[in-house]
Symmetry: D3
Subunit: 245 residues, 6 copies
């Protein structure tokens, strides 16, 4: 089976990270993964949520949204409906959780970094593109804190990126575009660090339960893709980790 | 390390499934997994959601809730707050998706089965207990449809159960109780079928990314536990699958 | 006319009170009145609502809900609809108000007791069963406060129970089951104390206004039934009132 | 004890009913009971709610609200808060239920009459003034239907009015003003028809349970007051009931 | 073209301002402009909104609503819908902004005046009648503050009134009644002070863009009408401005 | 006074219109006015709102939003708050109304065009930039309908653009940037067509009422600016109006 854009099964779509995309934000990135485009901004708030007050540590949280016309059909605006969908809440919980796994919250100090991931154009993989882009915006914002001498060094313990993999007919595919995703019987989102550790694995076989072997092959494919995404992050950010880390 | 209730690391808590628990429902179960207790009811609705109208197939969906005092501290009632939390929405999406993976929706016909999972007492693992219990309630409701001759045979393609596993300090533990779950650095929820296929894998290392090896060991532990849960389901339901399935 | 379950007109359904039903709550009861089953939990909160701050007295309040499949047809979950119905709000206001009438709020001190009444199976009389059961859960919670020496003695001034009565065709019936309630032209809910004082009388003749005489007969029937309910509470709780009270 | 406005214990405040108060409505009344002022409008809607479709009968329903500054302190507008309070819902359910008890819904035909009761100035007894005033607006609207020959005769089976009574210190008082109501230990709202039948009795002893004797005395006081209110309604409406009714 | 009520094109409808209309409010007015009737109350709140805390100045804000049956067809109550419409929010923002333009917020001190404008009967021009009436209620409330010696002198810098003008077919009309407004191709709301300065101009040509000349003619018409409205305010209030102002 | 970016008082900021900005939408534009950047998409929906059904004409409507970090401080997401602010509703009503004034709704036929204006970076004038950009997206979408032969010719009667003007200290300024807008005592938003007709004038002197002369000078400034904006629209779109129009 030929992929829609002639990619190889283990090939990522072209990825482009544009830094300092929004002038007001402490960190901001436009990440493009094929036709998926997400604006990720990082906001530093010198407060923590109530459950962390006085704990001597910070917080990292995320919000996710799609413009109504990011997709082929117009979606009703969640602000107009008056509530965020389960899908939105699930995705933003995932983004926040994933980013926190590579942040030293104590070293961050009693402040919150908000990551806003707004999809302006969607073609599959919006949640994984959000994680990959938000990581860069988060680092930008934290570099600002270092420059302002609010913290001594970057409270980041590792790089972090995410991608999707899936089983479409009998093919194991990396980085699914929307039409591929719609036809996948198994769909996995995987978040991995620069050192190759797992942060999140979410695999679903809604229509067809799948075998352990398929699971392991898909995992391997994702791992390979994420290594490439982290190379692209390094190009965008420069080397941020010092030896000892 | 000794587990709080002296269980072995690969040992489930006592599991009890009480059938026909609520007299009005088409299927209903009280599932107890240690001190976690969930009422699962199945309701047959002779309609499908709008997106399925005229498609000649049915739907299975779930809702999840906890009584305010199911937990150590009282939670504000979601009906009083006026919205369901992200956690609730995420869990009920998971339950519905998992159950649909073993239902032949065409054979079910144009009707919806609602699974309501209401946690009356919580001690960890409420989402996986909900899946394991809701499967039984779902089968009960479908057996009713067969008896009423609305469908010819049970549109169930496999058994289905779920459990949690996690890494607590250096121990790999099966079926985490609440205090274990709170201390886990890695937490996985796994849904597997009677034939051993994977339906859902959700692994999270919020504080600590984890290695592939740990992932594989945890998966093996879950698989073993789920096989036992399915034995318990079979005792509750009798044998429902015929040879050829 | 024969009643659906062959009861006499002035006969209660079988009543069963199971104490300590939910392990986390400060007080908890499963009350069964025929096929009506309600979990009542009491939560002690060491705060009072804003309007009572600094007044040197406590508060008792209630919340009420039904599981979606407590009834013959599935009700949409109020948390999913995003608001509580007028019926729910009216019932929980009634429960809270009734319980406060037998509590010495000054003696309780600046704390709130929350009563959660969750109907898991409904067959008429859920609000009156909630009051009767919640009274027991409330006493349990207050006994805990006495044991912890937070208060000196039980701040309860009297027993309290409730039942419904109604006019069905020409029969005056005690403790209406759901089908009886649906056919009643007059429907009354009455809350009375152990000493025979009235706490709440709510009588409605939606379709047919009724005479004073019918009103007095119904009241007498309720009074008789409530005396029996209080006997059952005493069996469950032991004697809690000292002589002088 | 002298009443605040020197009334006798069994004396109503001055009552004034102004008909045709709002030009657009099918029925409309300004009712003044002392300083309590309520605009009651009746709207005829040629539809019935979904649960009555095709049943060949009509519906009567009510909504209640207070202007923010109807009271001594400004209340936050319910539209701004985004929900109606339990008190509001309870009152409007009561008004609708009471009015339906004297309407022949079959004779009304498949249409709905909406009664809107908007309190522009409050001084106690707003719910009972609303019922007494809304009855007149309802009759006005139905007289319009008779004039338009949509129905043959007035589908009203009896007059209907309401008042409050209460126990303040040791006095049994009719038609409580706000300050009296605030000091009452027992508070009852009673709705009675022209023929003296009971439609609704709601008595509450929040702080002090009360005796049967007190109950009966309060009831008698209310009955007397309501007879006078119905006389005032008759003056406003003229005689609407024919002999045989 | 003859106007519906035989007015001249540059003629206002009869205007009547009744002061002290609601006994509880610090200021209150019933304003009648033809068949449009609005209750305007002013509430003094000894707090300011969070964004003004510690700024040493006060705030004036407004809320607007229509009773459901103020209009020919019944409007669904915003409290029942659970949100205020865009129209409502736009109007109340306009009223608040207009009134603030003639208030010396520093002289008012750290307190808020709430203006509630509740339309009890609508026949066009409800927002401009609200402004004209609310100005009087605001002055009443501020006179109370002066009397109570909370402020030294009236912190009002000028009179303020509003009216609508529009283009109906080829006629330029002052003070549009509802049916005129419905047929207008250009509709303007104008707020002007006693000294003839502009506070707000809102002109809309939804169906037909309009010329500058038409704009200027409409503006002149409004100016003339507002001068008359201010004369009526002066009659209601007496002279409130001292020479030097 | 020198303007912040050295512009002359009657000079627009640099304006850039990028067409076909979002691949899925029927029309889409990125409009940049200085540092204000708005994505405007047009969606064609082959339905009309209920109030237009069967009227043989179409509808044009708009929605407006800002990304949380479009501004210097992060704004709480309206979808998270559960409602759109009054400001948002007011702006989107303005955008829709303005665009409808240059559309021949009959010629459009029974379909709706939705304009979504999402501000990704804000520096003043977001509502007027939205109108100017949305006009281009609307034309793009309608050109698509002509190409698909769903309509015969472009149902657009004139060009349409908008800008803001204001009084800052004593200077009359065109096209206010955010800091200028914050200091303006008079602020006007004006929408004018290609032929110089007025569609909307909204002028507000919140802190200081202003004179007629100032009003006329500001209007003249806006008119000049809008003529330039329409030239830029023409460059982006090519000539779309035929002679006779």
């Amino acid at each position: 089976m030929m992929r829609i854009d002639n990619r190889k099964n283990n090939q990522l779509r072209p990825v482009k990270i544009t830094r300092n995309f929004i002038k007001h934000a402490e960190g901001s990135v436009l990440i493009e993964v094929g036709d998926t485009k997400v604006i990720c901004t990082a906001t530093v708030d010198e407060k923590v949520p109530p459950f962390l007050k006085g704990e001597g540590k910070g917080w990292v949280t995320a919000e996710y949204s799609m413009l109504p016309r990011a997709t082929g059909n117009r979606n009703i605006r969640e602000a107009a409906k008056g509530k965020q969908s389960g899908r939105t809440l699930e995705i933003q919980r995932l983004i926040g959780r994933a980013l926190r796994s590579v942040v030293d919250l104590k070293a961050l100090g009693e402040r919150t970094v908000w990551l806003d991931c707004d999809v302006i154009q969607a073609d599959g993989g919006t949640r994984t593109a959000s994680i990959t882009g938000a990581f860069v915006a988060l680092v930008e914002a934290m570099q600002g804190l270092v420059e302002q001498k609010k913290i001594k060094s970057l409270p980041i313990t590792d790089y972090l990126a995410a991608t999707s993999v899936g089983l479409v007919e009998d093919d194991l595919l990396l980085d699914l575009a929307f039409t591929e995703d719609s036809n996948a019987t198994v769909d996995m989102n995987i978040v991995i660090t620069g050192k190759g550790n797992i942060v999140e694995v979410q695999g679903t076989g809604e229509e067809n339960p799948f075998s352990e072997q398929q699971f392991l092959q898909l995992y391997a494919l994702a791992k390979e893709g994420i290594a490439k995404l982290i190379t692209i992050q390094k190009e965008a950010l420069g080397e941020i980790m010092t030896e000892g880390e």
